[in-house]
């Protein structure tokens, strides 16, 4: 007997409360880690590796690392030197954004992060959440790029985490609705719509994103009447949204096809039209079923924003690299990349956690 059962005496049988004792834990450890000679060797080898390397890594990152000082001379050559990172932190966050306008960036960070508790909340009516998600790109554009209520900010003044965040959030918010429309279009009964959507998806999937980004930055101008220019930021967003929408559309189309046609017929038989059937019967289920794949796609999209570096826009990776081209700090890329990794990890891991939360919530309704 490895568990003790605390019986509950009552007239109606209740589920017994099971408590684990220290011996149970020992047993679990032995069973999982030292069950056979091979298990034991693997466990010991991995422990040895961890014991040797974790202190080394921690030492490099923190204990021997240098946090304050003014010049390179202050650094410890055998450990991380966080001086430039700390000195340039403002630049990494805001990029070249005008200093007196930084409240606009702060506000957009807050608005963007506010989406998370909203998405996690169970009580908030879905309509409000959807409204928020759809309005967010517009508000972010107005705040960071200006032009409507606030003064116009030139695209070259957007950089660092601000730019990454801006591109990532807007592309994520807009690509999902576009993807839903494409997915429905590919299953449309009207051949023209079906052909256009299929052709579009096939084309976009088969060409590298980078190519589209280059085309957006160079070629689009050729087709526009002279004098008309579209901000490069807008063009880049357009590419990010429409490319990732093609992938999402395929994910969603697969999920739509998995829905038994009988449900759609039942809805039609009640006199419900195509759009309402899609909105209330098909999409809620299809989107739920595609959560894991969509989350992966969102994470990929967020990381893809680093590609805009190629076009001379300094997103977070770009600004970090730029500091290490400075003569004083040249060649200290590792610390910079640690920071960038941490930044992306924090955001992408949060997105993944949201995905896990959604899956748990869907499982709980156990339909």
């Amino acid at each position: 007997m490895i568990t003790q059962i605390t019986a509950v005496a009552s007239t109606q049988a209740k589920r017994p409360v099971v408590r684990k004792s220290a011996r149970d834990y020992l047993y679990i450890i032995r069973r999982n880690l030292f069950n056979s000679p091979v298990d034991t060797i693997v466990t010991l080898a991995i422990s040895a590796l961890l014991i040797t390397y974790i202190p080394l890594i921690l030492d490099w990152l923190y204990f021997s690392a240098v946090f304050s000082g003014a010049t390179r001379a202050a650094c410890n050559p055998s450990a991380a030197c966080w001086i430039p990172i700390i000195n340039f932190m403002d630049y990494y966050i805001y990029g070249p954004f005008p200093i007196d306008q930084r409240w606009r960036v702060d506000t957009s960070f807050v608005l963007g992060l506010l989406a998370f508790p909203l998405l996690f909340s169970q009580r908030m009516p879905q309509k409000i959440i959807l409204m928020y998600i759809f309005l967010l790109p517009l508000v972010l554009w107005a705040l960071l790029k200006g032009g409507v209520f606030l003064s116009d900010i030139s695209t070259t003044a957007l950089g660092g985490m601000t730019l990454t965040f801006f591109l990532g959030i807007i592309a994520m918010c807009l690509s999902l609705p576009v993807a839903i429309i494409l997915a429905l279009g590919r299953r449309s009964r009207l051949p023209i719509i079906r052909w256009v959507c299929s052709g579009y998806i096939e084309l976009v999937r088969a060409v590298p994103v980078l190519t589209f980004l280059f085309m957006a930055s160079l070629m689009l101008q050729l087709f526009l009447p002279g004098g008309v220019t579209i901000d490069v930021l807008f063009r880049i967003l357009f590419v990010l949204v429409f490319v990732s929408a093609a992938y999402k559309a395929e994910i969603i189309r697969g999920a739509i096809q998995a829905i038994p046609s009988g449900q759609i017929e039942a809805s039609y038989a009640m006199g419900c039209g195509y759009w309402k059937t899609m909105a209330y019967i098909v999409m809620p289920q299809a989107l739920r079923n595609s959560v894991p794949a969509l989350i992966t796609n969102f994470i990929g999209l967020f990381k893809e924003t680093t590609l805009v570096m190629i076009l001379g826009l300094l997103e977070v990776m770009g600004v970090v690299r730029a500091t290490f081209e400075n003569a004083e700090w040249i060649g200290m890329h590792v610390e910079g990349m640690v920071l960038v990794s941490f930044f992306f990890f924090a955001i992408c891991f949060s997105i993944a956690q949201y995905g896990a939360h959604l899956e748990r919530r869907i499982k709980r309704t156990k339909y």
């Binding site: 038994p260 009988g262 449900q263 017929e265 039942a266 809805s267 039609y268 038989a269 009640m270 006199g271 419900c272 039209g273 309402k276 209330y280 019967i281 809620p284 289920q285 739920r288 309704t365 156990k366 339909y367």
Partner: protein
């Protein structure tokens, strides 16, 4: 009995590609009548019943439901679908909605009623099919018989003039068939116009006003239950009855 016609089919033909699924179907169903359609597998029973609410289109002939002639016009399709309720073999409940939401769906999104009002109507009907205590469960948590009763309640929410049943009991375990038939009996007694595809000959004997026998896309016999069960006019119907009753 009211002599007004609920359903009128004249010379209806339907093809699936080169395969003719319905051949020159003529049938009239009066208001308040219960008609049972039976026949061997593949004879076109489902196809016929599905043309009545435009889930399948027909190629030739005329179908009138409640005086509305079915055409390609979307308005007519909508009208016809609102005046008919359909119950399917595999229930086709919406699995992501609770029982109550399944039943309020049509009221809210087709009728445009408010939440409270729809819930009142839905609860009333759930009580009628004896399943009111399960309203907050999801369809996946119910037995087949319970699901089918919910499906009937859902179809009734829009107060249809005609109920269409396509083998409502053939996906059910034997002990659940009777609870669904019970509900159908009540409906029939209450004067609902019903067209049922079913192999439940007990139900047909007792409650059908007429029995329609189909084979290979044609109606080959229409008779009252007494005639049909005691002296079927066609050899094919005799054979069919022998097979089904020996079961």
């Amino acid at each position: 009995m009211n002599t007004q016609l609920a359903v009128k089919l004249t010379g209806v033909d339907k093809w699936y590609g080169d395969f003719q699924a319905l051949k020159n179907i003529n049938l009239q169903v009066a208001k308040g009548e219960t008609v049972v359609i039976c026949g061997p597998s593949g004879s076109g029973k489902s196809t016929l019943i599905r043309t009545l609410n435009c889930l399948e289109g027909h190629d030739l002939g005329e179908i009138c439901i409640d005086g509305v002639r079915i055409s390609d016009n979307l308005k007519d399709v909508e009208k016809v679908r609102k005046s008919t309720g359909m119950v399917f073999q595999h229930f086709n409940l919406f699995p992501h909605m609770t029982v109550l939401d399944n039943c309020t769906f049509g009221l809210r999104h087709v009728r445009g009623l408010g939440v409270i009002e729809s819930q009142e109507i839905a609860r009333e009907l759930l009580r009628k099919v004896q399943i009111a205590d399960q309203e907050s469960k999801y369809p996946g948590q119910l037995s087949g018989g319970q699901q089918q009763r919910v499906a009937i309640a859902r179809a009734l929410t829009l107060s249809p003039d005609i109920m269409l049943f396509d083998e409502p009991t053939s996906a059910l375990d034997p002990e659940m068939i009777s609870e669904v038939l019970e509900v159908m009996r009540d409906l029939s007694k209450a004067g609902m116009t019903m067209i049922c595809v079913t192999h439940e000959m007990g139900f047909a004997k007792e409650f059908a006003d007429r029995i329609v026998f189909m084979e290979t896309g044609s109606i080959i016999e229409v008779s009252t239950p007494q005639e049909f069960f005691s002296a079927p006019k066609t050899e094919r119907a005799k054979l069919f009855l022998k097979q089904i009753l020996s079961h």
